[in-house]
Amino acid sequence: MKKLIELTVNGERHEVAVTPDASLLNVLRGDLALVGPKKGCDAGSCGCCSVQVDGKVVYSCMTYAVGAQGKEITTVEGIGRPDDLHPLQQAFIDAGAVQCGYCTSGILMAAKQLLETTPHPDETTIRHAIAGNLCRCTGYTKIVDAIKLAAERL
């Protein structure tokens, strides 16, 4: 049986009917058409689904939507727009940190929490902060460069 719940995503309130076991990821993508968070492993390993809940990065595939009521949810769509990119998004473009792009939105969310708590991270700290996000294209080097660049600009 579906439950009617209210979610606050990127500052907007949404009312959605969900099954009790619906993941936040499925609701974001399927009900709210926010397809920035990607479904990769759907098992809390790849990080493609990362979003922020109350300012903390989480795997949305492992988060129950019903349990996310009353919390501030931020997806990659909420951090910048094509005509007004977040400094991390601009840095990913400038550093060439995107290849296929499937992991990018999740890594941006992990990097965002890093820079919010550690404005000037060293490389080890950056690599640790994105350890919960897999990228099979880039080898991470340019992703790390991009996060360093964003840290300098912020």
């Binding site: 049986m1 098992a43 390993s45 903390k56 129950y64 992990a110």
Partner: protein
């Protein structure tokens, strides 16, 4: 839908409501704190019978306080809050806790809870291994009232523990350690998001004569169905000088206390070898932390 029989997702506001729900749904209820372990089981399709998800995030069980020299950690306290706690971060006796929390990625640190990883009752988890070596105990609430059990006696097998169907962990108690005590933890993993192939924690006290006393060594990962207390390694240490030769002797003894499994991730002899190496390294780290 991964939980085909689930009827509702409950968010009780009081412990009593949670206990009542557990009593009502029995074995077909699943507690949700951080939710990461539940999801792990869900995607493997083993929760087909679950009828009720019971979210215990609103029970007021998060937080860390001192109680007569002991530290009491609420069951839904997440790993990040534990890392940020000054009383834990500043005490060498608790260092194994922070060691264990260096491994999970931010996405798990932000939501995983101390009670959840204990309740999961799988020796592949790191924090319970560290907490076992610190002689932690658990406060439990349920239909028949509250009780306290030692973490060392909590696990009864893989995914098995002493909790009755209507009980839940409410708090984790860290006892005050003797003076001159430090701890350490190490884990072997293949990548940044991996379950332990072997994990190991020690607590070392050095007495006024410079000898090891009241040592604790626990081993987890693929070494049995639950964490193993390495009693023969502890016996080899207690009363011996706190120095490399004693640590080497203890590391040779640790293999008597474990039954490593042979699987695609590591052979049994390799796991045994790692347990030996980690015993030595953890003891050396703990000694270093005593300055």
């Amino acid at each position: 839908m991964a939980l085909p029989n689930v009827q509702d997702y409950f968010i009780p506001g009081t412990r009593q409501e949670a206990v009542d729900l557990l009593g009502k749904f029995g074995e077909n209820a699943m507690l949700v704190a951080g939710g990461t372990f539940v999801h792990g089981l869900e995607v493997r399709g083993v929760l087909g019978e679950i009828e009720a998800l019971i979210d215990i995030g609103q029970l007021g069980l998060a937080g860390i306080r001192s109680e007569g020299g002991m530290l009491v950690v609420g069951a839904t306290t997440n790993f990040g809050a534990i890392q940020a706690n000054e009383a834990i971060a500043s005490a060498p006796q608790y260092a194994a806790i922070l060691d264990a929390l260096t491994y999970p990625p931010a996405q798990i640190i932000n939501v995983g809870t101390i009670g959840g990883c204990i309740g999961a009752s799988a020796p592949l988890y790191d924090l319970p291994c560290a907490l076992s070596a610190l002689d932690a105990s658990l406060r439990i609430d349920g239909g028949k009232g509250a009780r306290e059990v030692a973490l060392g006696g909590f696990f009864t097998g893989l995914f098995e523990n002493v909790l009755a169907g209507d009980e839940l962990i409410t708090e984790v108690v860290l006892p005050a350690a003797s003076a001159n005590t430090a701890s350490a933890f190490l884990k072997l993993e293949t990548n940044a998001n991996d379950l332990a192939i072997v994990n190991l924690a020690v607590r070392l006290t050095v007495d006024s004569s410079g000898n090891c006393a009241d040592t604790r060594i626990y081993v987890g990962g693929g070494i049995g169905e639950s964490y193993a207390r390495a009693v023969s390694a502890e016996a080899a240490l207690n009363g011996s000088p706190a120095e490399a030769a004693s640590f080497a002797a203890a590391s040779e003894a640790v293999v008597n206390d474990i039954e490593p499994v042979d699987d695609h991730r590591a052979s049994a002899p390799y796991r045994a070898h790692i347990a030996k190496v980690y015993t030595r390294r953890c003891l050396a780290t703990a000694l270093e932390r005593l300055g």
